[in-house]
């Protein structure tokens, strides 16, 4: 999209995902416009986009706030991710190219490297890249759009800071299994592995988020 609109989108999104503004914070158009150095028009467009990604919530009276995810919201999100990413893995299994598998191996090596550190951002970046490659190999634009709106939620990022290295190791092993399934071109195996991966991540999240707030 166009310059000002994209700028406002990126800036507001960053403010939300980086935790600059906590959930429930009101987002006034004029204030955001001043912050981004643009007029209200592109800010309004950005807010609509962010609302579609569940990062912004609007009241009946059309006021905007930083979205506040309940435990139920998170559970729903993981349930949908488990289904959709599982489907993506199944599709990818019969479509993925050797080059893409190479990228997966490289990204999973990066995940492995992060196992020796406590660098959560590094792990998350490699993990995100891995899932993005799988999604791309699934070759289903609407599926990609749906999942795009689901992942990368601030709640997940916040609690990820509490993951231990054990989480990194588990993810690495599951990713490796997925790569095996891809090499075998086994859709069912790939799907099961991915769905299990997401479900386990959900329970890791629950275990770690218990004492949040």
């Amino acid at each position: 999209m166009s310059k000002a609109s994209d700028l406002a989108y990126a800036r507001i999104r960053q403010g939300i995902t980086a935790g600059e503004w906590s959930p429930g914070t009101p987002l006034r158009e004029e204030e955001l416009a001043a912050l981004c150095g643009v007029s209200r028009t592109p800010v309004r467009e950005a807010l609509r986009r962010l609302e579609a990604e569940y990062l912004v919530r609007r009241t009946e009276g059309a006021r905007s706030f930083v979205a506040d995810w309940s435990a139920d919201d998170v559970a729903e999100m993981f349930a949908l991710r488990a289904i959709l990413e599982g489907h993506a893995a199944a599709r990818a299994a019969t479509r993925i190219t050797p080059e893409a598998i190479g990228k997966l191996q490289a990204l999973n090596a990066e995940v492995h490297a992060s196992c020796g550190t406590d660098d959560t951002d590094r792990f998350l970046a490699a993990n995100r890249g891995f899932h993005a490659i799988v999604l791309e190999a699934a070759a289903s634009p609407r599926l990609a759009q749906m999942l795009g709106a689901l992942v990368e939620q601030p709640v997940v990022r916040r609690t990820a800071q509490r993951y231990g290295r054990g989480e990194f190791v588990r993810s690495h092993a599951e990713h490796a299994a997925l790569i095996e399934a891809f090499l075998a071109r086994d859709a069912q195996w790939a799907q099961s592995t991915m769905t299990g991966h997401i479900r386990r991540a959900f329970h890791a999240f629950v275990a770690v988020s218990g004492s949040e707030d």
Copy 2:
């Protein structure tokens, strides 16, 4: 949303879904604004919403057109519907109230009534209502939003005009089975039935759309 924006959305959506403008038709903001009797601002918002529903397609240059669905697009849409509606049915099975089941029975009676006619619109309206109740019973707002953007595509509506009464009868029987599964509170049965229902509908669509255009 607000008045002018909603009006523009409803009017443009109608123009697309009713087939007033065929796929590929350019949608100029000023022209639509004049047609709806509002300014370009609410028209722009309406176009963004319709784009999210895959009813409008935008070029790199940001011009808008009535979306043109390829056979692959339709196949992808049905694949996603089969998964997501199957999931919705599974969730609904353990959550649905007796009142909602009553509504399903009433709507399926309406489907049955349409079996004796060639009134496709009547069948489609009852069918749409039936699926909406299931989705509501699934109690998953994000799932509802995803499916909302997927169903009610003009291509489907167009080819539905060619469905024979056999299609109506099949749908009625499958809906009846789904109600049975709900009464038994059997999530797996409900999911299988719904997924099968959508997949069969897909093949009915393919069979009927072969000679289109």
